[in-house]
């Protein structure tokens, strides 16, 4: 059924239909509306979950880790500083192969303190062993939660997943969203069947000490499971398309890429603006296209290389920066295109909530075609001196 909903509420309703056994979260802007809505559902008995109130994000994800280890389907949500506080537990959750699903309502990291959107928070956890999905709109943000659970809990994967969507731009915006019915979700998402779990009648220890004789092999297993999850994501995305008509079979979306000369690469809600700018440029006869990355981890290097190998210039828009180096997406795209000869130009853009308009996208395309890149786009020089 199509409904006009705030992004946060649409996600909360999707999570409710995923039937999590345990929810543990700590409220933080702009994630708050999701967990408020879920707490209300639990209080009103429209959601049969254990809602654990905690004193910090570290405790929230620790409670999720423990509940998942005991065999529960688990949900949490956070953003920015909250995710930073979860850093240690994020690595442990992936290492213990616990399929926790967590919404990341993307927000900038301090200092300076900012409540507005960029993608620095989840990007900074790119090495933690979690799957990372990025949504362009609220429909996708909602659908990706069903898919994330199905993939994360698949026995070939067993890894936790971030579903990332831009703070305020999506979380606080009302959009039409097609909500699935409970029986549809139940048909797509089977009950979680843990492979190992903490059970006093069949004892097992999790997350043990590993000597140098074993540590590397454990890390290799996590990496292999994350890389192999690409196949499971494609299967789950295709099945979703067959059942509900919205296909998520590819980890990337190509928009007007067929004969594109200059390709823009980006993730998240900015892609809506980019598509509009591309339509304008196309009307003027300029061959621009967009390659949108939906799955950042595992990184779809092959698909990126295939999509971009024919273009004459690539412009990567990063809402993050690995300080002292470059934007994370630009680094990945360069790696994927290594040896192809296609020039990749990186633009750090829209940090801390700065708006991006269609003219900015056009400017970036101009700069990429002129070979000018690896810059912060739109810096206000007048405040720098």
């Amino acid at each position: 059924m199509m409904e006009i909903m705030e992004g946060s509420h649409a996600v909360a309703h999707a999570v409710r239909m995923c039937r999590p056994d345990v929810i543990a979260a700590y409220p933080i802007t702009p994630q708050t509306h999701i967990v408020e809505a879920l707490a209300e559902m639990v209080a009103n008995c429209t959601l049969d979950s254990e809602y654990i109130t905690v004193e910090s994000e570290f405790s929230a994800l620790s409670a999720c880790l423990g509940a998942s280890a005991a065999g529960s389907r688990v949900y949490s949500a956070t953003t920015s500083q909250g995710l930073a506080l979860m850093f240690e537990v994020c690595f442990n959750t992936a290492g213990m192969r616990l399929p926790v699903v967590m919404s990341i309502v993307n927000r900038a990291l301090g200092a300076p303190l900012s409540i507005w959107n960029d993608q620095q928070d989840s990007i900074s956890l790119r090495d933690a062993g979690w799957l990372q999905f990025y949504a362009e709109d609220n429909q996708e943000a909602t659908d990706l939660h069903y898919i994330a659970y199905r993939v994360a809990e698949d026995r070939r994967v067993l890894l936790p997943a971030f579903v990332c969507f831009d703070g305020f731009i999506l979380s606080h915006t009302y959009e039409p969203v097609e909500m699935l019915a409970q029986d549809q979700v139940d048909g797509y998402l089977p009950r979680y069947q843990p492979v190992i779990k903490l059970d006093s009648t069949d004892p097992v220890s999790l997350g043990l000490f590993a000597s140098p004789d074993y540590y590397m092999e454990f890390r290799y297993q996590i990496d292999r499971a994350l890389k192999d999850s690409g196949k499971v994501i494609r299967e789950a995305g295709r099945l979703f398309g067959e059942m509900f008509g919205r296909d998520y079979g590819s980890p990337v979306e190509e928009y007007r890429m067929d004969d594109a000369d200059c390709a823009i690469v980006a993730m998240g809600s900015i892609c809506g603006t980019i598509k509009d700018a591309i339509d304008e440029m196309r009307e003027e006869g300029r061959r621009a296209g967009l390659l949108r990355i939906r799955t950042f981890r595992p990184f779809p290097g092959e698909e990126v290389r295939k999509a971009l190998s024919g273009v004459s210039s690539v412009a990567v828009l990063d809402k993050n920066i690995s300080l002292g180096s470059k934007g994370a997406v630009a680094l990945e795209v360069r790696d994927a295109l290594y040896g192809s000869g296609v020039p990749v130009h990186g633009y750090i853009i829209a940090l801390g909530g700065r708006d991006v308009a269609k003219k900015d996208v056009r400017n970036v395309v101009e700069m990429a075609m002129a070979g000018k890149g690896d810059i912060f786009y739109g810096l206000r020089r007048e405040v720098l001196e």
């Binding site: 290492g95 213990m96 192969r97 616990l98 067993l158 492979v195 190992i196 004892p203 097992v204 220890s205 999790l206 997350g207 043990l208 590993a210 000597s211 140098p212 004789d213 074993y214 092999e217 454990f218 297993q221």
Partner: protein
């Protein structure tokens, strides 16, 4: 030992952790000075020394970490710690 999913392990499997790989110095038992008192067997933190068929103490080098407590405590100074080259 094959790795358990999620760094998991069943009870009673700590012997799979062969701590002998940590060793830098290995204990060498000099039988001429050994009185077979068995103190080394009692005080070994790893519990890896046992008597052999002749009654002399013998370490299981798969688990001996080379801590040297036995050599330090031996009343007859019958245990020498020798550096191992690997």
């Amino acid at each position: 030992m094959p790795l358990g999913l999620g760094c998991s392990s069943r009870p009673g499997t700590s012997r799979a952790n062969r701590t002998g790989s940590w060793r830098t110095f290995r204990p060498v038992f000099v039988h001429g000075r050994c009185t077979k008192c068995g103190l080394c067997i009692q005080i070994c933190p790893e519990g890896c020394i046992s008597k052999n068929s002749e009654g002399f103490p013998e370490p299981d080098l798969a688990y001996c970490k080379g801590c040297g407590v036995c050599a330090e405590e031996c009343p007859g100074e019958a245990i020498e710690m020798q550096k191992e080259e690997k």
